[in-house]
Symmetry: C2
Subunit: 398 residues, 2 copies
């Protein structure tokens, strides 16, 4: 049962995103290429028994996106070099101090550097860029300074290690870049415009759901904002990986990836509002039907104009062009805000008259009439805010 | 300059949370203990040249919390065992098929298993629990099946490898549990009640900020909710690590960690509302001063009663007791909601009269009077919601 569900789950993932299967195949190919070094005698003699390290490099470094692989490869190479050098250096110093002090110095240096390295991984700037590097640094340092006590051929070992790492990382980078490459930058780009679309959909969905006339269920279409809420970590990871990638497609080497993070943050602040709005749909306090009918048109117009702006932004982001229509949609939205305010002003007078005349029967009308306003106002405010921000962002990105 | 800032940054982290420094020291100690195996001749002979693997185990496995270390150790042990067995198995099968087919079978098995392993890391249930294990599995499998082609003493190698891993992980677990242990469970517990307090503070802060009479700046005390918004990943990670931990302090082995995730989700849904509310503080559309004064008391009462409930919940979570006061505070809050509605009902009539009399001068009063209501209503709704949920959660947790 449990295994069946697991396989079904795996199958769903595989069919919904075949690139994940391709990634698996690519990992298999990379590992096969590396293990070829074991089977081909001449190569084996060249690299030596250390070619297990090439296998290890591939297993550790092979990530999903090109950026992540380049980043890890770079980290691994630099950290191995630095760790090895530090190890040899400490070993040399310890050697000079005589046989008695030697183990003490080696031991102390391992302890101090390991402590410093473990602590440095808490520093955000280190964590986000060099987390893997710090680990490899301390690993290599411990190996070299400790094993140096026994093995005399330190430099030869270092040469072997370096060549295996170069072979391993080259295979990884080659495989990832030339077989169906997955670029972190493109992923981030796609995520951003898809999230803009999701936000537009859930905004529309929420308002439609709220004002629906009969009890039909429209399939919870408006839950897309939840995805937006939870994509912060993914965005940040991909933006930091994208910096490592060479130019690909329409993305240049120094593409302003940080702008995507700004758009992402604006989207999230908008999604918070949609989430608040979503709360009202299932709220027990509902506006009277009569009032809903009155407000329906103005609200729908408002949300449609907001989601039009979002969709247009998604479009311009997707195609990386600057559209004159964006400005038009923004104006359209501002017009919708204005006309919504007029409708509301008119309506609130009407509602009060209603209350005064039918005070007993419709006693709650006055109180609950604020619900639709409350439900809509955050959107107008936040959508305006969002557009202000994203407008500026777009003008930089494109 | 850059290094100076980096060091200052590191110093701030060290002084604000000394446990991170202690973690560094612990990592140093663990690595020192392991490298002792190199220096002590008899032990060296026992474990053999493979004791680099013990060093590697310590570097890879030593994480911040006990739960993470136990989880990684477990993953490493099981995965090494499974990977090794599979490697030996495939090697035996390949051997039976004759010398021609042997490399083909070995190569194919590496490719297929590596592809399957790389793909399986996309499956959420594998990712969250066995990510490290899958990596070690494929690493060990490649080593064994590939190196088996050259080295005949596979079983001896396996025995060595197993003993180094046991030594490495034991040292890690020992060091982490007996020197200033950091329990993921306790961290999660602390994070939860601190987040409840943060939420209460920012709710109070927001409303105070909104109704402040003069322009004093109260130091952006109300930004704590941002921390709540961003702690989803941390909570999930710690909850999944906490399951690996033995009983500690007042936490039993099968402490209901998932309940903390539920409380966390409720807190976040509340924080979304606070974030929306926070938007209104800096909004350009402000209610007229007169109206603000009228609403001030009722709003303050409302937010204070909500934050009292939150603080009480924080208290009961912290001490893991059930308090009779919680119910009292909830009733208090419901009373505040009621009286707020009364004030509002009274006020909206007054405001309309105002509009009618001074139509030109105070033209915007009617429209903008909805701002404070809008700003407050989400809290009442959501706080009530939150309390409903957290109430139930508390009764299970305690």
């Amino acid at each position: 049962m449990c295994i069946g569900r697991f396989l079904e789950n795996a199958w769903n993932i595989a069919t919904s995103d075949p690139r994940k299967v391709i990634h698996g195949v690519k990992a298999g190919i990379a590992l096969t290429l590396v293990s070829v070094f074991y089977y081909m005698k001449p190569l084996y003699d060249g690299v030596g028994g250390n070619s297990t390290w090439a296998v290890m490099t591939v297993v550790m470094v092979f990530e999903y996106s090109v950026g992540a692989i380049v980043s890890k490869s770079f980290n691994r190479m630099i950290a191995t070099f630095l760790g090895g050098s530090a190890g040899v250096g400490v070993h040399w110093i310890a050697n000079q101090c005589g046989e008695e002090l030697e183990p003490v110095i080696l031991q102390a240096s391992v302890t101090i550097l390991a402590a410093a390295a473990a602590f440095s991984r808490f520093i955000p700037s280190v964590k986000s860029r060099f987390d893997y590097g710090v680990m490899i640094f301390i690993l290599t340092f411990s190996f070299v300074s400790v094993s140096g006590y026994r093995v005399d051929k330190l430099l030869e070992l270092a040469k072997d290690r370096a060549s295996t790492i170069v072979i391993g990382t080259s295979i990884c980078i080659f495989t990832s870049m030339f077989i169906y490459p997955v670029w972190a930058g493109r992923e981030l780009h796609n995520l951003t415009y898809k999230n803009l679309e999701r936000l537009a959909d859930s905004l529309d969905g929420c308002v439609t759901e709220y004002f629906k006339e009969n009890e039909e269920n429209n399939g919870r279409k408006h839950e897309g904002y939840k995805f937006v809420l939870n994509s912060k970590a993914t965005e940040e990871f991909m933006a930091s990986m994208a910096r490592w990638e060479p130019a690909h497609g329409s993305f240049k080497f120094r593409h302003p990836w940080k702008q995507y993070l700004k758009v992402g943050a604006s989207m999230r602040s908008c999604a918070y509002c949609v989430e608040t709005l979503g709360g009202f749909i299932n709220s027990e306090v509902q506006a009277p039907e009569l009032l809903k009918k009155h407000m329906r048109e103005a609200c729908m117009m408002l949300s449609t104009s907001s989601s039009n702006v979002l969709r247009e932004l998604a479009m311009t982001t997707k195609t990386m062009t600057r559209s004159t229509k964006t400005q038009f949609f923004v104006q359209d939205m501002q017009f919708a805000v204005q006309s919504f305010q007029d409708v509301f002003k008119h309506l609130s007078k009407q509602a009060l008259l209603l209350t005064e005349h039918e005070a007993v029967k419709e006693n709650t009308a006055q109180k609950t009439k604020t619900v639709p306003i409350m439900a809509i106002f955050p959107i107008t405010t936040m959508a305006t805010l969002l557009i202000e921000i994203t407008e500026r962002v777009k003008s930089i990105v494109v």
